[in-house]
Amino acid sequence: MTDAELVARTCAGEVEAFGRLVDRYYDDCTRFARRMLGNRDDAEDALQEAFVHAYRGLPRYQERDAFRGWLYRIVVNECRRLAARRWRSERHMVRDQDVLERVASREENGRELHDELQSSLERLEPMLREAFLLKYGEELDYEEMARMTGASVSALKMRVKRARDRLRPMLEREGEADGAR
């Protein structure tokens, strides 16, 4: 059954039809949210809210748009809100910018992604991380990314380039450190 058919059945009152969309996309969205937010608890919070927003907003979904892209837009937005809220609260606990930059990742709160990609990603500003993940992780083209993020194609290209330039030496150092262990 196509996404559009499942949307129509959900709107007709069949909530289990939405369950099939959840089964279809929740894991992919989890991958993005956990890479973006760096820990399982925040990612789950963001996804629960995103899917509820999607469910409530289904009547406004236009069939001409790919459901996955429409859903991702909501997920991206929810991750932004959660990260911004977390960033704000942390900013007011730790005012020293140097300390903030050194504390690139949080060890508490269910963080369990310890690979070198994640430790490098968490040293990127969230805006750059988001663009990089959509481009290199989700392998989207810039037009799709622009629809999802609300940013222009040129701005996104610039963010991806900046992320790439920052990540390349970080990943090289991480690789060398792993090799030396």
């Binding site: 939405f18 956990r34 509820v52 289904l58 609260s89 392998e139 390349r168």
Partner: protein, 193 residues
């Protein structure tokens, strides 16, 4: 043309990215339990949260509306308080009225006729969305007057509980690293960035 280093980066990311395991099955169950308690989605359901993107036309209209509201309120406060803040101290949507030497009363204004709830958050209230609810005025302007200590403060509005909106008529703080721009007010002085 893709640089060799970029190809290597792509390969490493493609290799590492999917290592995140699938979602916890209980998370999906919790979600579905929650949705079963929801009413059926209807045409008038709330729209998914829009991105906070100011398109030029929207921004211009919002700025014009905010300027108008700010000016009207500025003169209103001038009449009520017997003093209009100097232009250098007055952001178009903020009216600042002296109270004591230490703290000044600042009137925040946002024109948002379609909003059902607006609050102002900033470093002066620890970014607490519940601290300063704004009051809807005739015509769709939302206002809140709060005491603010002299100095530079960063702030934003939250519309309908989840949309962060910078003041379209105030100076902007540097981007916060996440595509979100806050506004700046300098109480008792001028902003120079």
């Amino acid at each position: 043309m893709e640089h060799d280093d970029d190809r290597e980066l792509s390969r490493r990311v493609a290799d590492a990215y999917p290592r995140v395991g699938p979602a916890d099955a209980s998370a999906k169950l919790r979600l579905m339990e929650r949705l079963r308690r929801e009413s059926q989605p209807r045409a008038e359901s709330p729209q998914p949260i829009p991105f906070l993107v100011w398109r030029p036309a929207t921004a211009a209209l919002a700025t014009a509306a905010s300027l108008l509201v700010g000016t009207v309120l500025g003169w209103y406060l001038h009449d009520r308080m017997g003093r209009q803040a100097p232009a250098s101290e007055l952001s178009p949507s903020i009216a600042e009225v002296p109270t004591t030497r230490e703290v000044r009363l600042v009137q925040f204004v946002l024109s948002a006729p379609k909003a059902s709830q607006v609050t102002v958050v900033g470093d002066f209230n620890q970014w607490d969305p519940a601290a300063t609810p704004m009051v809807r005025r005739e015509g769709g302007a939302w206002t809140a007057a709060i005491p603010v200590a002299p100095g530079r403060h960063v702030y934003a509005f939250i519309v309908d509980g989840d949309r962060w909106v910078a003041d379209p008529a105030a100076p902007m703080a540097p981007e916060d690293g996440f595509g979100i721009r806050n506004s700046v007010i300098v109480v008792g002085g001028t902003e120079s960035t």
